[in-house]
Amino acid sequence: MSTPVGPRRVTLFVTCIVDQLYPEIGKATVEILERQGVAIHVPRGLTCCGQMAFNGGFRDESYAVAGRTIELLRGQGDVVLPSGSCAAMIRHLYAELFAHSPYAGPAAELAARTYELTEYLVDVLGVTDVGARFRGRISYHDACHGLRFLGVGRQARALLANVQEAEVRPLPNCDTCCGFGGLFAIKQYAISEAMLERKIHDVHAAETDLLVTGDASCMTQIAGGLSRRGSPIRARHIAEVLANMVDARPV
């Protein structure tokens, strides 16, 4: 059996939060990529990029987790993550974490073949219409790390613009942080809640049905705030919208 030009193959790193909390986001990512003819590989035992420990200042612990991730992703081709934040950890912060260490080289090599999902779809595959359909109003929140450390945002908007029957409505202050910030949400819970309050205010002002973002973590923060306030507005990961899986999970 020989295939002269093999199908595109990517390694999918769904991230620990998607694996444990939102398997549907992972399934949606698989669905979207496979629909584009991309073959997916998921390395066994892949867990976390190490950002939580790094974010908290615990660099030794982060080094161990991230070092293991580098090993598991060695020689695995393009890596796609449905998360701007974890992709930014690999692309931007691994250089800091592994500076002057034996992993400095492998980290840089991995960074060069790591992509956030919407970036991979639009910039690498050249696709902006993935056959999605949603009857309702959609607003997009720019999750900070994807926006500021990867320059992601334009790709998500291009993809959402092609969702059939959807009305994309602007979110006021769409590039202002929702207040998640990893451990910040717990360690500085009061500030985090105050920032969320403002985000919820803007989401309501957008007069939308669905708040869409590219990171499951920010989605958890915003969804948690909407749910606590009994809001009918739902928050979804962009992969769920693109894979027509908005109704695949409750709340």
Partner: protein
């Protein structure tokens, strides 16, 4: 009200419950952010200009020793005096002694964060000298008995209603919500002080090594009066605030004004190169330049050196959603906001809870995005967090929590079992697909936010099942 004796979390709590503060911050930061974005957006080459500004600052810092000596020599050649102050104590002593020996009884000051940093006013007042702040914002907080809560807008935390009440009490001004009468009242009070002052103390925006001169930018004209009317002018300059050439100002003044207030240039730019020369009608008889180190040379060459590029425009404060929520006083140091969360632990290591400041950031990166010299503020905050952990400064629950996290992430079997337990546990807590209360320490999450009920199956389990079916099918 002084909140400095409180713990960081209490200061945050106080700030978050202060509705007036929220109103004042929302109004002011929104205006600053809008003005900056308009002024930077109006440039066709903003990115290039910022790159140039960064290069100018990097160059100056790389030859700081040489440039400072050049600046000092040229200031002295023009008849000025230079004090090399290694810390606040030396700077305070020099200025207090100068005031004493020259019989100074009254001092006017224009804005200077360096003087705030060394608590100069208190020291001079203890020495029996009257000190009056002449920048309108500084004047307001001086009569209110407070400290600045913003690098360039010290009274940003006050509403005009509060300022009116202060002026009514201290200046006998009739209550008003109009700004012009307030400005007139302050101007009238300050004019007398300028005329009778024996000494003027100013900050410095940039020292110019080649010229032996200092640059002061302002919008009110008070710095020009402070530096020219009294017979003695003392300028206090952090040693890092230097550029090499006069031409560098072409870049620096533009990025400073546009980033700080959204102006093309500040209203007044004064370049001061010493006392009045023989035959000159205006200017002070004496000019003293205090070069303040106060911990800066320790930062130079280290992993935080980039923070010394800061030109104190305040753009990162305005853009920061944390600063917008809590204001400047909650940070507890002289410098607040994202850059303050870096500078305070470095320059004020004696403040007990300042290791918490680098955690007062969601690392959203809005600060770096607006910084005119592109300081990688989030990266520096992360380094300070790592330093705090290395120094053993963290909540006792954090170490075991992070270690169990790392153990789980490093061991797929443990990760599976641990995840399963967590999922089972949270299923007991869920109501209508969501969790309203989690056990400590995660109750801090559910205080104001719901948490999703965890699914029965992880993505990995689903994927492996699917792979098995594919191979068997």
């Amino acid at each position: 009200m002084s909140t400095h004796s409180l713990h960081f979390f209490d200061r945050v709590d106080t700030a978050l419950h202060d509705e007036t503060l929220r109103t004042a911050l929302n109004r002011a930061t929104a205006r600053f952010v809008g003005n900056r974005s308009g002024a930077i957006g109006a440039l066709s080459d903003a990115d290039t200009l910022r790159d140039q500004a960064r290069a100018i600052r990097a160059h100056a810092l790389s030859r700081l020793d040489e440039l400072l000596v050049r600046l000092a020599e040229r200031v002295e050649a023009r008849g000025g005096r230079v004090c090399w102050a290694s810390d606040g104590e030396e700077a305070r002593r020099y200025i207090a002694e100068l005031a004493r020996s020259r019989g100074v009884r009254s001092i006017v000051k224009s804005k200077s964060m360096a003087s705030e940093e060394i608590h100069l006013n208190e020291a001079l007042e203890r020495a029996g000298v009257e000190v009056v702040e002449t920048d309108l914002g500084e004047y307001i907080i001086q009569i209110a008995g407070e400290t600045p809560s913003h690098i360039i807008a010290p009274a940003i935390h006050k509403t005009r209603e509060q300022i009116s009440a202060l002026f009514e009490q201290h200046l006998g001004m009739p209550p008003t919500t109009e700004v012009p009468p307030m400005i007139r009242a302050a101007r009238q009070a300050l004019r007398q002080r300028f005329l009778r002052a024996d000494m003027g103390i100013s900050g410095v925006n940039f020292g110019i090594a080649d010229e032996g001169a200092v640059v002061i930018v302002e919008n009110e004209g008070n710095a020009r009066l402070t530096t020219s009317v009294p017979r003695i002018h003392v300028a206090i300059m952090g040693i890092e605030r230097i550029v090499e050439r006069l031409e560098d100002l072409g870049v620096m003044l533009q990025v400073l004004a546009r980033s700080a207030t959204g102006q093309k240039l500040s209203v007044y730019t004064s370049i001061i190169s010493g006392p009045a020369r023989p035959g000159e009608a205006d200017g002070p008889e004496e000019f003293h330049l205090v070069l303040l180190d106060n911990g800066r040379s320790q930062i130079l060459g280290g992993q935080y050196a980039e923070a010394l590029m800061c030109i104190r425009c305040g753009a990162c404060l305005n853009a920061c959603p944390v600063y917008q929520s809590i204001g400047g006083h909650a940070y507890g140091g002289v410098y607040s906001g994202p850059i303050g969360a870096i500078l305070t632990p470095l320059l004020q290591p004696d403040l007990p809870d300042n290791y918490l400041l680098p955690y007062a950031s969601s690392l959203c990166g809005a600060c770096q995005e607006v910084c005119p010299v592109r300081i990688a503020i989030p990266d520096l905050l992360l380094r300070l967090r790592a330093d705090a952990v290395r120094a053993g400064k963290f909540h006792p629950i954090e170490k075991p929590a992070i270690q169990s996290y790392a153990a789980m992430m490093n061991n797929p079997a443990l990760y599976r079992v641990g995840g399963k337990f967590a999922r089972l546990g949270t299923r007991l807590l869920r109501r209508k697909g969501r969790i309203r209360r989690l056990p400590p320490p995660l109750h801090l999450w559910t205080r104001g936010r719901d948490f999703p009920a965890l699914p029965a199956q992880t993505f990995s389990e689903w994927w492996e099942e699917r792979e098995r079916q594919r191979h068997n099918g």
